[in-house]
């Protein structure tokens, strides 16, 4: 039983990472109907920004302050990075067909991956420890400080996001844009600004995920975004793409089931399970667990 609970904690902390990345996918899809394939790479860039920032702060004792600084720095850098991607790559083709947008996204993704290999080197890098370590043992289950941080920070960010979308003016505008872009524009909403904000927020969340995985794993490499991005995308689809709570639910489900499969079956099925779940959901409930059925306008 202890082992099962321990695995559950492992699964939830991995799932929170997927959830954070999935949020970016789902938000961008919500406003633009675009699957932003470069999103996984933004997560990778976030991890690297965190790595270089923490190297700068190294020498000082690991402390909560430096951990927060690193996290904030990476989030800010990636928010700007997200804005740049949106401005340079997606805005010029926004009026083009959706296929053009999709292919642009794949192009951006490949560009970032290869540029990162040039810039950071193809060798994996290893995060120095950021926060002081402390472990808690609850009913025989060991909660490492890293796992607690991952879960706590993810949930904090998700609650903040929920507040932002539901309660602020910008959030309201975002919902309006996602409901109907043209109508929102007619109502005087600056859609360009809202779309840019969506990219910035989504990218910042991905950066947070990057730093968190760096603290926990602690290996990062320029191609780490591919698989994590893909699984987070599956999580977003699973929860119902375009639906924010759905992305969180999907992420946690994928993370937990992955850990359980590795723990109780075999590590070889680790990736098969995520995509197996995707296929099942697409057959049984194409709109996702929390998704709404939308009628395609022809």
């Amino acid at each position: 039983m202890t082992t099962f609970l321990q695995q559950l904690v492992n699964g939830l902390s991995l799932g929170s990472i997927y959830a954070l990345i999935a949020l970016g996918y789902t938000m961008v899809y919500g406003v633009l109907r675009l699957i932003n394939f470069a999103h996984g790479d933004v997560y990778m860039v976030g991890a690297y920004v965190g790595y270089y920032l923490s190297r700068k702060l190294q020498g000082k004792e690991p402390s909560l302050v430096s951990a927060i600084l690193v996290m904030m720095g990476a989030m800010a850098a990636c928010a700007i990075f997200g804005l740049i991607i949106e401005r340079l790559a997606y805005r010029p083709v926004r009026r083009a067909s959706r296929l053009t947008l999709l292919i642009t996204a794949i192009g951006v993704s490949l560009f970032i991956e290869n540029a990162a290999q040039l810039l950071f080197g193809a060798d994996p890098k290893f995060f120095p420890s950021l926060a002081p370590r402390a472990d808690f043992i609850v009913a025989g289950v060991r909660l490492t400080s890293e796992q607690i941080t991952v879960i706590a920070v993810s949930f904090l960010l998700m609650i903040l996001l929920r507040f932002f979308i539901q309660k602020t003016r910008t959030g309201k505008a975002m919902r309006a844009v996602s409901f109907n872009l043209d109508a929102a524009k007619l109502m005087g909403i600056s859609t360009d600004r809202i779309i840019a904000t969506t990219f910035a927020v989504g990218s910042a969340l991905a950066a947070a995920a990057g730093v968190l995985i760096g603290m926990q794993i602690p290996k990062i490499d320029p191609l780490m975004g591919i698989l994590y991005g893909l699984k987070a995308f599956v999580a977003a689809v699973l929860g119902g793409i375009g639906n924010v709570p759905g992305a969180v639910l999907g992420g946690l489900l994928i993370g937990t089931s992955e850990v359980m499969v590795v723990g109780y079956l075999s590590s070889t099925y680790r990736d098969a399970i995520a995509f197996g779940i995707l296929i099942l959901v697409l057959i049984l409930r194409p709109q996702g667990i929390l998704g709404r059925v939308t009628k395609e306008k022809v």
Binding site: T3, Q7, D123, P124, F126, D135, K219, V262, S267, R270
Partner: protein, 385 residues
């Protein structure tokens, strides 16, 4: 239609002429030796150490006048730590650069991909450090100068049972890696023979970075040690996560751990872990100490790992064989390598057996604050396979 035939014909002629060119290789003032290795990517230090070791050997040989009155030039190609790239770079070395012999690889999966190409082109290949038995079974042009997985796995099983007095050991294996699975099989069998129990067997794949699930399962079985016959990138990550989960038992491993990066990755989490290896820089014999001193002065004070030492020996044995053969022709060099007997290398006395494998002892090293300290030397006679 006719144009198409013409085109096809001329392409064929072109290919044939290129292939024909290959036969007249090495007539210049240099002898070209090829080496394929991973210079970038997840197992990059393997390739870099190997290249550094073999370059040092060839430079020493060239300074002393070369081989057969010619200088040896080493051409190194990078496979980016991708097994699927091996075929491309080895074919390029053979067909475009016309190398007369080949060195490589460290990782067995990669050597297994290259060996058939060298065999069918009749280019002798020496792998400095691939320990999987199947590598040299590919054909009579494929040799190795290191011991094999069977022996290495048996050494660690003996060490765990006799020296550590462990009764319960768990295994965490890289399931898609020939080397890792090879070590696992022998370790399991030998450890049971010595009265121990394997309490858990979990797996991962090279490139994985999250091992919490496997380690949690292993922890539940209360092992006294965990055998992790993987490569340094994953091992360092596993050590980190193992300690984070509060599992404070030593990890045991093989020569795939040997990398200057291992400590950088795992850090303090690796203290008190053990692995089997080919040689120790602590060895007081003059040949080892001279090699270590030369290597350090050549490469910014870095200590040569076992892979560098094996590459050095492989290069020296290749040059020795060419000298004895009196030619660089594939078949004659092959026979000369096969006849190598009691060659005193850095990694011990090397004789090539009838199955083209080297027979030699292994050492067990302990990780202590970034240093690898010699604990025990185990000879082939001490472990019965």
């Amino acid at each position: 239609m006719r144009i198409r035939y013409l085109l096809a014909g001329s392409i064929c002629a072109f290919v044939v002429s290129i292939l024909a060119c290959g036969k007249g290789a090495s007539t210049g003032s240099e002898i070209l030796v090829g080496e394929y290795g991973s210079l970038t990517g997840g197992i990059a230090t393997f390739g870099i150490s190997t290249r550094d070791g073999s370059s040092q050997a060839f430079d020493e040989i060239n300074k002393a006048g070369g081989v057969l009155g010619k200088k040896i030039r080493l051409l190194v190609e990078d496979d980016q730590s991708k097994p699927e790239e091996v075929g491309t770079v080895v074919t390029k070395l053979i067909n475009q650069n016309h190398v007369v012999s080949m060195l490589g690889h460290v990782a067995s999966s990669y050597s297994l991909a290259a060996a058939p190409i060298c065999q069918s082109n009749k280019v002798p290949m020496i792998t400095p450090s691939s320990t999987n038995p199947r590598v040299t079974q590919i054909g009579d042009y494929i040799f190795r100068v290191c011991f094999m997985d069977d022996f290495q796995g048996a050494v660690m099983a003996k060490f765990a049972a006799d020296t550590l007095k462990a009764k319960r050991v768990a295994i965490l294996v890289d399931i898609r890696n020939d080397y890792s699975v090879g070590l696992q099989t022998v370790f399991r069998e030998q450890f049971k023979k010595r009265g121990g129990t394997i309490v858990a067997e979990q797996s991962f794949s090279q490139g994985d970075s999250d091992f919490h699930a496997q380690l949690t399962q292993i922890k539940a079985t209360n092992p006294e040690a965990i055998y992790v016959p993987g490569y340094y990138t994953e091992v360092g990550t596993i050590a980190h996560q193992e300690k984070a989960l509060g599992l404070n038992v030593p990890l045991l491993g093989g020569d795939g751990w040997d990398s200057p990066k291992l400590w950088e990755i795992g850090g303090n989490a690796l203290n008190g872990c053990y692995f089997s290896d080919h040689y120790s820089t602590d060895d007081p014999s003059p040949i080892v100490q001279k090699f270590v001193a030369d290597y350090k002065s050549r490469y910014k004070n870095q200590l040569p790992d076992a892979l560098a030492a094996l590459a050095y020996d492989a290069a020296k044995i290749l040059a020795d064989a060419m000298t004895r053969a009196g030619t660089t022709e594939g078949a004659k060099v092959r026979d000369a390598i096969a006849a190598t007997k009691d060659y005193q290398g850095v990694t011990g006395k090397i004789s090539i057996g009838p199955d083209r494998n080297a027979v030699k002892p292994a050492v067990v090293l302990k990780v202590e604050n970034g240093k690898y300290v010699l604990v025990e030397t185990i000879s082939p006679e001490q472990v019965k396979l």
